[in-house]
Symmetry: C2
Subunit: 302 residues, 2 copies
């Protein structure tokens, strides 16, 4: 069992009430005046909206390599039997493969690619490590929805991530149309923290990765956030990078179209923001979902 | 039990094989040279694509009246207990109220509104009647998907509609965004007929209106159609009319956003195309889903 949290719980959640509080951390940690690896306008938009879509970051040749590696891992018997894959609730098809920054040399290299890692270091103003990585393969025809959530709510409560000093990068491997279940985000929602009602059930991760029922905001919280910020579908071509703050509210509808939606997904966390004991009465989630024992900074570009 | 079909089965389906055949009927029946109630360009597009979106057909005042009537019917105890409403599989919320062209004076009048009925008469080149009508209330947050289908396939097999000489008009009562599960259509798909495998189970309508499992096209059929025609999301404001041919392939994704998607829905069928015995070994579906006993032409505008 986990011991007492090692630091103050600034973002309590799952303590019986739905409540919206203010974010207590910056979104962009880089000191004023430091030159960004992308335009100032993009950084300002990111700070304001909580996400940005960077197009044409990877070439067709690179995307093709990533896709081949995705297919290889999806069909790898060892990977399938590792218990580190998630399948669709109904069809049983592979939905996610975890820990690809460790079990694939290609994706290990990608995680350290300066186009991603330098930007993460800039935004978080720190050395970074991979808190979680995965391949998402959202199949066509019968792809299920993923309900609204803030990643940070889960990472804080279930993993013990102390502060909002992490971000996700999703590298798109297929085109994200408006109709094949693209990522939807609520601009500006990262400035608020939607504490959720309910407690954390035992072994929650086993079901929550398929379908989340705890740690989800209330209808009223969502309505309020969507009214204030609107909803944006992150439409983009393969080879784009969707960068989003750990606390921005996001989700995706199901996908009945024939067009699958695949991506490689890295969560960069600041080295100074390493996880402590979970902020709930449950043991930590397994290492393949949350790096805890095996933390090392993403190396600088060679 | 139903007797033998009263006419030749030109569109056999659910006889064990998935098969695509060519449409054997026109889409626009109006003789060349007849003046259309909308532009020739719109009619040509409709003939080619199998659908069209007509914006600004109803004023905000009218939409508001329809919305109020929708709310009244959704909450009407008698309507709820009539067995003529469909609820969401999981939440139990009302999803559809049927036969509104009979049980609501306002919607009876709307069905005969020349903006709709004249256009139906023009396209079908005949007097028309309402084969089916309903209010669809696709709730936010937990709205479920509706899988791809051709309406005609079901109306033909289960209702005994002989030919493709019918169309649907969906009058939008809320905004259809790209993200709240809008109607998706495959342009040009109405020119082909996707015969489905499988048979028709007993009392199929009781489950198919919630979630269709028979009478659905195969993955390969869908892939082929979408590759050739693409996919269009019918985004539009409230007060628009989405007109679509009885055989165009369509469906909608689920809706996790707070924005509900409501519409009034009329199916106009040519008087000369009245239903016969079903083209399957099942008794006809009930009157509230398919007008059979109670058929009278939509009256001309007063």
């Amino acid at each position: 069992m986990a011991g007492e949290p090692e630091c103050e719980d600034l973002y309590p959640s799952r303590q019986g009430v739905h409540r919206i509080t203010q974010r207590q951390d910056p979104t962009v940690y880089a000191p004023k005046g430091r030159v960004a690896p992308i335009s100032d306008q993009q950084i300002n938009d990111y700070a304001e909206q909580g996400f940005m879509v960077l197009e044409d970051m990877f070439s067709a040749v690179e995307v093709n390599m990533f896709q081949q590696e995705l297919e290889r891992l999806r069909n790898d018997t060892e990977v399938k039997q590792s218990g580190e894959t998630i399948t669709e609730p109904e069809s049983g098809e592979v939905r996610s493969v975890f820990r690809v920054h460790e079990n694939s040399p290609l994706f290990r290299k990608l995680a350290a690619d300066p186009r991603l890692a330098e930007l993460a270091r800039y935004i978080l103003n720190d050395e970074v490590y991979i808190h979680q990585s995965r391949l998402n393969y959202k199949p066509g025809f019968r792809g299920k929805e993923f309900y609204w959530h803030s990643d940070f709510e889960t990472w804080h409560v279930e993993d013990g991530m102390p502060r909002m000093r992490a971000l996700s990068m999703s590298i798109t491997l297929t085109e994200n149309f408006d109709y094949n279940g693209p990522l939807m985000l609520i601009p500006g929602s990262h400035q608020q923290y939607a504490a959720c009602a309910g407690e954390t059930p035992e072994n929650h991760f086993q079901s929550s990765l398929k379908k989340q029922e705890y740690g989800v905001p209330s209808d009223d919280q969502l309505k309020q956030m969507a009214q204030s910020g609107g909803i944006v579908s992150a439409k983009c071509k393969p080879g784009s990078v969707i960068v989003f703050d750990c606390n921005v509210m996001h989700g995706s509808n199901g996908n009945i179209t024939p067009e699958p939606r695949s991506n490689v997904f890295f969560v960069y966390n600041a080295m100074s923001n390493q996880v402590v004991a979970p902020f709930c009465d449950q043991p930590p989630r397994p290492e393949y979902i949350c790096s805890r024992e095996n933390i090392s900074a993403v190396p600088p570009a060679e």
